[in-house]
């Protein structure tokens, strides 16, 4: 076929779309809705991906967090105290590559009083010096624990973002005295908020005190720890992490005097596990949303196919006339396919704009986080063109194969 004929078919297709405005608008809306759904879902999925990566970075890509308790026997929210200071010493002795080993104590629920108010915080934590560095958890203001704070079991504390806000509102809590379970502490810092994404509000509603102070003053076993965080140097490649996790495991098992058949009584977590968990979650969501997208694409495809079948029946005379005037089978096929593809491309533009707007609004209201990537545009236009191509194929072929005489008699 002559290339000019191809270009002229565009013109003829546009003329027809304009002539049958109602049909065009209906198809346009159907395709736009499908593309809108696709856009929102792709944007959301990519947003979740980015969030997961942030989570992994926040967690610390080279850290192994070991929590007490065994995988199968542990009730949610409880952590049997199976980790001890002996484990910390064993890890220090056997893992020379490690940059930091950080023990952590933890208790659910603590009464905090300050500024004339009383608040029950979700948790009390005990940490070592340089909490920020060790747990990759910045302070939004104040001073980190020093080695002396730990050594002398000083009564200083950090407040979580929510805890500080509840007690002090907009007032600066640094230097204020608060009562933690009736014991006076000086507020030395405020944790940066971690938000929902990092494991719930309890992360932001807590009081952190020096680990030695916590062990000494809160009736907590001096032997046991809730968590031990092992941090490898930041240049450690992620491929080395599984090996390091194994090393931590075997040191702890030996320290616990376990035989080979015994189950672990602790759980090591890495950034990889966080990512895996998120992607598992994402997989479920993707399946559900994917089904929604496929359904809306199919629906819009059937709308398009139906209206095109009607259109072909309605336009028999036009088809017959064009054949009589020298249009061959492919010219008719091309015109109907172009009509469909043009509608779908316009629909994709509309759907993209609508989808991006809705995603943006949802992000503004905090429902989800989105990423607008070039792939998004590819998905939208690809999806739309697939609808336009596959669902118009049959009606276009019916039109192209129509005998000219039948077509001409159809409208007379």
């Amino acid at each position: 076929m002559h290339p000019i004929i191809f270009i002229r078919s565009f013109h003829l297709a546009l003329v027809s779309l304009w002539r049958f405005k109602l049909r065009s608008v209906l198809i346009l809306v159907a395709v736009a809705l499908a593309v809108m759904a696709l856009t929102i879902i792709v944007a959301t999925m990519e947003g979740a991906e980015r969030k997961a990566e942030e989570l992994a970075v926040n967690f610390g890509p080279t850290a192994v967090n070991v929590v007490g308790g065994d995988v199968t026997g542990q009730t949610l929210g409880t952590s049997p105290l199976t980790l001890t200071w002996d484990d910390v010493r064993a890890l220090q002795a056997h893992l020379p590559d490690v940059e930091r080993i950080s023990p952590y104590l933890y208790r659910l629920g603590v009464v905090v009083q300050g500024n004339g108010k009383t608040h029950v915080a979700d948790a009390l934590g005990g940490s070592g010096p340089d909490h920020w560095l060790h747990w990759a958890w910045p302070l939004q203001k104040g001073q980190d624990f020093t080695a002396d704070d730990i050594k002398y079991s000083r009564r200083v504390c950090f407040l979580g973002d929510i805890t500080a806000e509840r007690l002090f509102g907009d007032k600066d809590p640094i230097g204020e005295v608060v009562l933690v379970d009736s014991i006076p502490f000086v507020v030395q810092g405020v944790h940066a908020p971690l938000g929902m994404a990092s494991g719930g509000e309890e992360m932001d509603d807590r009081v952190t005190v020096p680990i030695t102070t916590m062990a000494g003053r809160f009736n907590i076993s001096r032997q046991h720890l809730l968590q031990i965080r092992v941090t490898y140097p930041s240049h450690t490649p992620s491929s080395a992490m599984p090996g390091y996790v194994e090393a931590v495991r075997s040191v702890l098992r030996e320290s616990h005097g376990f035989s080979e058949t015994q189950e672990d009584d602790f759980i090591p977590f890495t950034a990889g596990d966080v990512l895996q968990f998120v992607s598992l979650l994402k997989g479920g969501v993707l399946l559900f949303l994917g089904a929604t997208v496929v359904t809306s694409i199919l629906v819009s495809g059937f709308v398009l196919a139906n209206l095109f079948h009607l259109s072909v029946a309605e336009r028999k005379t036009e088809i017959g006339l064009k054949k009589a005037l020298g249009a061959n089978r492919s010219a008719i096929l091309l015109q109907f396919m172009l009509e469909s593809l043009l509608l779908c491309v316009f629909g994709a533009v509309l759907g993209l704009v609508a989808g991006v707007c809705i995603s943006y609004v949802m992000e503004r209201f905090g429902f989800l986080s989105i990423v607008l990537s070039p792939e998004l545009f590819l998905w939208a236009f690809g999806g739309a063109c697939c609808i336009g191509f596959f669902f118009a194929l049959r009606p276009a072929r019916v039109a192209a194969d129509m005998p000219p005489v039948v077509a001409l008699k159809g409208g007379a």
Binding site: H2, I4, R19, K323, L325, A331, G411, A412
Partner: protein, 240 residues
Amino acid sequence: MNHASHSDSSLLAELSGITRSFMQAGRETRVLRGVSLDLYRGDFLALVGSSGSGKSTLLHILGILDQPDTGTYQLNGHDIGALDDVEASRMRSRFIGFVFQSFYLMPQTSALENVMLPGMYTGEPLSRMREWAMSLLERVGLADRADHTPAQLSGGQQQRVSIARALFNNPDLLLADEPTGQLDAKTSTEIMALFNDINAAGTSIVVVTHDPQTAMGAKRRVRVDGGLLKVEEEPPSMVV
């Protein structure tokens, strides 16, 4: 194929032994029962007959819009029976122009663009097409209506546009199916006069009509009756 007139250069189209049947209500209806017809260059033929006589089917076969069941059709020395879709379209585009009873103009499209429609399926440059379409509108007396849409034109004017469109690819053979069927007597006479002018300029014309007045405008008349060519009337001494 050993027809004597095969080498006759004045012969434009040659139908012989054409039959065509259609299935109607589960019954086979023989619309053409063996029709042979020669068309000469410069011919102006009226196919007359009652409705259902098969004259439209014969016209469709002449226009390569329909294929006969049996029989042969030669147009400009080409065997039409052996053409595929692409070749048939090209033959229609090159040799044949159509004029229909209900004009079949594209609505909401200017007269000029309607005339250009056959050119959309050739590789002709647009500027030349526009120029040529304009000259055709001039020829049918509608140069001042080039940008009017069909709705803004009278029936007679619409038929003139469709005639200009039929002439766009310089056809050897112009086929008209009841071209005056929707027009009043005066306008019909004008349209037939236009056909006469076109015929005088060298284009052969076949007009299907059931109107004797219209038929009298042609050079000769052939009656189709019961799927056969019954009477071939002599050209009248005087052309309307």
